[in-house]
């Protein structure tokens, strides 16, 4: 598989979930593990450009896939457009949900379609944030559509 542009190959235990593999084996701890049943969205990453729950995949299922985690989206001093918009709008407080939101938003923005705030609110409802009340998150994603 390819993770953030780097090739990785090796054996994994069949029962290891993808989020545990990313965190424990690759030490990419920016992928956060919340509910571990697909509801909270914290562990969302990009798999072949699509937002997927890394807690709802076995690592072995990612064989051959191209994965992007938060570590592959930008870095301090060189934030992605979306990350910069999140910062400008103060679209996070504790930050636990943020990597998942950024992955979901990356697929939404990648479609090239322009959505209304109402539509974005629906589309972002697959990620749970307990701090912000969502307003600044929706604003940040909305702004990046321009």
């Amino acid at each position: 598989m390819t993770v953030n542009g780097s090739r990785w190959s090796g054996d994994v235990p069949a029962r290891q979930t993808l989020c545990d593999f990313l965190r424990d084996e690759l030490e990419l701890t920016g992928t956060h593990v919340g509910c571990e049943q697909g509801a909270c969205g914290a562990c969302t990453i990009l798999g072949d450009g699509e937002a997927v729950r890394s807690c709802l995949m076995l690592a072995v299922q990612a064989d051959g896939m191209e994965l992007t985690t938060i570590e592959g989206m930008g870095e301090p001093g060189n934030l992605s457009t979306l990350q910069a918009a999140f910062l400008r709008h103060r679209a996070f407080q504790c930050g636990f949900c943020t990597p998942g939101f950024l992955a979901s938003a990356a697929e939404i923005l990648g479609s090239g379609r322009r959505y209304s705030r109402r539509e974005l609110r629906d589309m972002l409802s697959g990620n749970v944030c307990r701090c912000t009340g969502y307003e600044p998150i929706v604003e940040a994603v909305f702004e990046c559509q321009r």
Partner: protein, 273 residues
């Protein structure tokens, strides 16, 4: 690691998959999109000896249209179905309610049907459209009616060595209606829902499996009535059970109201009800 240990198989062809299922029977569980099975594994609510990952079986991902029927391979993803203009109208309006888009990116039609969550959309769609479920094993194929397929929560009439390989739906682009009530927007589980295609009426998320409302259908066939009258007939027929967030009374009342709404919606879409 939260899931229990298991042997992992990843067949490339259907024949190979069926051979594994035949050899290991009820020790083997097929893995489709994993959006329900992986949490069940993580919570150790299931402990299969073997997991048979069907993601590389290309022949199960096919979608075809012929003679007024749409055949959907069991491993077709919700995402692909959602954006496929060849789908029946009821499918197009119902599929966006399945989980969130991240779930639809991985979840499959056959996985949802085989998992048989009573609150899920696909069993209700299948029942309303009189879908034919095609099951396969090394011994051959058989057709199962949607009604005979679904037994109860996580229970279908599939034999341990059988796989659901295809769902066949009539191509209907008019006369459908769909509605559900959730706690939190589009992607949440339905607390109660209703679907109809012409005079076929289904409620879901209210009991142990989706229910065809035959009394309501007879009422419609005899000429029907007002929306309130239809809902009243539905309320007396719906078999609701209590659930963690809802009482059986709530589910019956809400589902009955939704039945009235979806029938009105289907009539507005040129239905014959």
């Amino acid at each position: 690691m939260k899931p229990p240990p298991f042997e992992y198989h990843r067949p490339e062809t259907l024949d190979e998959a069926l051979a594994i299922m035949a050899e290991h029977g009820d020790q083997a569980m097929p893995l489709a999109g994993g959006q329900s099975l992986i949490p069940l594994l993580a919570m150790r609510l299931v402990r299969p000896g073997r997991i048979v990952d069907l993601s590389r079986v290309g022949e199960l991902q096919q979608v075809s249209v012929a003679e007024g029927r749409v055949s959907i391979g069991a491993m077709a993803r919700q995402r692909d179905i959602e954006h496929d203009p060849r789908m029946p109208g009821l499918v197009r309006v119902a599929v966006p309610h399945i989980g969130h888009f991240q779930i639809r990116n991985r979840g499959t039609v056959g996985g949802s049907l085989s998992h048989m969550d009573p609150a899920a959309e696909w069993p209700a769609i299948a029942l309303a459209l009189d879908a034919v479920m095609v099951a396969a094993s090394v011994r051959g194929r058989r057709d199962i009616t949607a009604d005979a397929f679904m037994i109860g929560p996580q229970m279908t009439s599939l034999e341990p060595e059988e796989l659901l390989v295809e769902v066949v739906l009539p191509m209907r682009t008019e006369g459908f209606g769909f509605a559900e009530v959730t706690r939190r927007g589009l992607g949440d589980f339905a607390l109660a829902g209703a679907a109809c295609q012409d005079k076929a009426v289904v409620v879901f998320g209210v009991g142990l499996r989706p229910q065809r409302l035959r009394v309501v259908e007879d009422f419609l066939n005899r000429g029907g009535g007002t929306r309130a009258e239809i809902s009243a007939v539905a309320a007396s027929e719906i078999q609701a059970t209590d659930a963690i967030h809802t009482s059986s009374h709530y589910r019956r009342v809400v589902a009955a109201a939704l039945v009235g709404a979806v029938i009105e919606e289907s009539q507005a879409r040129g239905g014959v009800a």
